[in-house]
């Protein structure tokens, strides 16, 4: 029986060095620059924080993708969340990640910290307690991808079941496969392969990626875990596919990801939500790329209840966050990067979120 502790930090230096040797061999063989997009922001952070980028051969480049929920949330969402507090007098409940994103008015939800109007939670389940403790309407800021959505959906379904009233969900959920499709369709894109998000895949399984990637003009996609050894293994598998001319969806994180995903979690999502067009910062409006509240649950929809405005994007002048999300420019190619745009005073969302590509590059630096 394996001890749980053996599965926590997979960062054995000997194993990583062996994987590095194998990666170096394949990179030599490939003889050209390979751009691998890590779709998921948690991968970005793990790669930077563990210095994995410093272990890769010079012709293998990791580029960050759109998998940072805060980074792809449109500006209108923040404006509306602020409006919920200032005008609608609702208590806004949010993950800490959203707190510091500035809206178009130039300030963020953090302005209301300590006032009781904005509550930062770790788990959506805490919202039910907040609901019971106040007479004001409570709105949950529903951001995130397939991993986070079932935790929020499950909480709201439980709230509905327990007839908790005056509790609303403001959705800006995103789904990964449509974003991959949009990135692939972009003719300017130079992405050679995707490192696919491990925990999104826990929910989705492999099939949704196959539809997008295993076809003409498709590229390799390997599902990776988040420990350094997991990431090195996934990169190795990507290079192997490229060297052998294969374009497949492969699972390099089988201890967590089943081929069929987690059907129970998907059923929870489907009960409350249905696919809808969604506005992404950087990628624009993508068909069926979000999850909206089904009509039968519209009494918990914050958009319906508070008449929130249509969504719009707004890019601060000169901010290249949109291009960074698409992997077209590296964070340090933006003229603002590390000059007037720093984590304490961010211009764009890629510098706000701890897992935004700009913040990760800034914090963990490039020793080049």
């Amino acid at each position: 029986m394996i001890k749980l502790e053996e599965l926590i930090h997979l960062n054995d230096r000997n194993i990583i060095l062996k994987l590095k040797e194998k990666i170096d061999e394949l990179a030599d063989e490939l003889q050209k620059e390979i751009k691998i997009m890590e779709v998921c922001g948690t991968h970005t952070v793990s790669i930077r924080r563990n210095g994995i980028h410093s272990l890769l051969p010079t012709n293998v480049k990791m580029i960050s993708g759109p998998g940072c929920p805060v980074c792809v949330t449109p500006a209108s969402y923040i404006d509306n969340a602020i409006q919920l507090v200032e005008e609608k007098r609702a208590i806004v409940v949010t993950f800490g990640d959203m707190l510091k994103v500035p809206g178009t008015k130039g300030y963020s939800l953090s302005r209301f910290m300590g006032s009781g109007w904005v509550r930062v939670i770790y788990s959506p389940a805490e919202m039910l307690e907040i609901r019971k403790d106040t007479s004001k309407p409570v709105v949950f800021l529903g951001i995130g991808f397939e991993t986070t959505v079932p935790t929020i959906a499950s909480t709201f379904l439980r709230g509905v079941e327990n007839q908790l009233e005056d509790m609303y969900l403001y959705t800006s959920f995103k789904t990964v496969p449509p974003a991959l499709e949009a990135l692939l369709a972009d003719t300017e894109s130079e992405i050679d392969a995707f490192l696919l998000p491990g925990h999104v895949s826990v929910i989705l399984g492999m099939e949704p990626y196959r539809k997008v990637l295993e076809r003409k003009n498709g590229i390799p996609g390997v599902i990776g875990g988040f420990e350094p050894v997991d990431i090195m293994l996934a990169i190795y598998k990507i290079l192997k596919q490229l060297a052998e001319g294969r374009r497949e969806v492969e699972n390099a994180y089988p201890r967590a990801v089943r081929g069929t995903g987690n059907p129970k979690a998907r059923a929870v999502i489907e009960k409350l939500l249905e696919p809808g067009d969604e506005l992404w910062r950087g990628l624009g409006k993508l068909p069926a790329s979000g999850l909206r509240i089904r009509r039968e649950y519209e009494n918990i929809d914050a958009v319906v209840k508070f008449g929130l405005s249509e969504e719009y994007n707004y890019e601060p002048a000169g901010c290249l966050c949109a291009e960074v999300i698409q992997g077209k420019v590296a964070p340090n190619q933006c003229p603002h990067f590390a000059k007037d745009c720093i984590p304490e005073e961010p211009i764009g969302p890629c510098m706000v979120s701890s897992e935004g590509a700009c913040a990760a590059y800034y914090r963990y630096g490039d020793i080049g």
Binding site: I15, C40, F95, S123, P150, T151, V202, K237, R255, K264
Partner: protein, 77 residues
């Protein structure tokens, strides 16, 4: 986008909750997204919810592969 960490189910509570632990730290999480969770299962926890059980057979095989890799040249497929 999705930070999660493995934990072990120590005790199953009412209402789809459980006490889980990692390295002696206990936490109360929701396990309602799992298919028939049992005490002793290793699960992945994200935002206070267990989102999947770890497949111990796969985990074991992977660890074996890695320990071989650390010793000799080994094919990874």
């Amino acid at each position: 986008m999705c930070l999660a960490t493995p934990m072990e189910i120590k005790e199953i509570l009412e209402g789809g909750k459980a006490i889980v632990q990692q390295a002696g730290v206990e936490a109360r999480v929701d396990i309602s997204l799992l298919e028939s969770p049992q005490v002793g299962d290793y699960v992945i926890v994200h935002a206070g919810f267990a989102i999947e059980k770890l497949d111990m057979k796969e985990a074991e095989e992977r660890l074996k592969l890695f320990s071989k890799l650390a010793e000799v040249k080994e094919n990874l497929d």
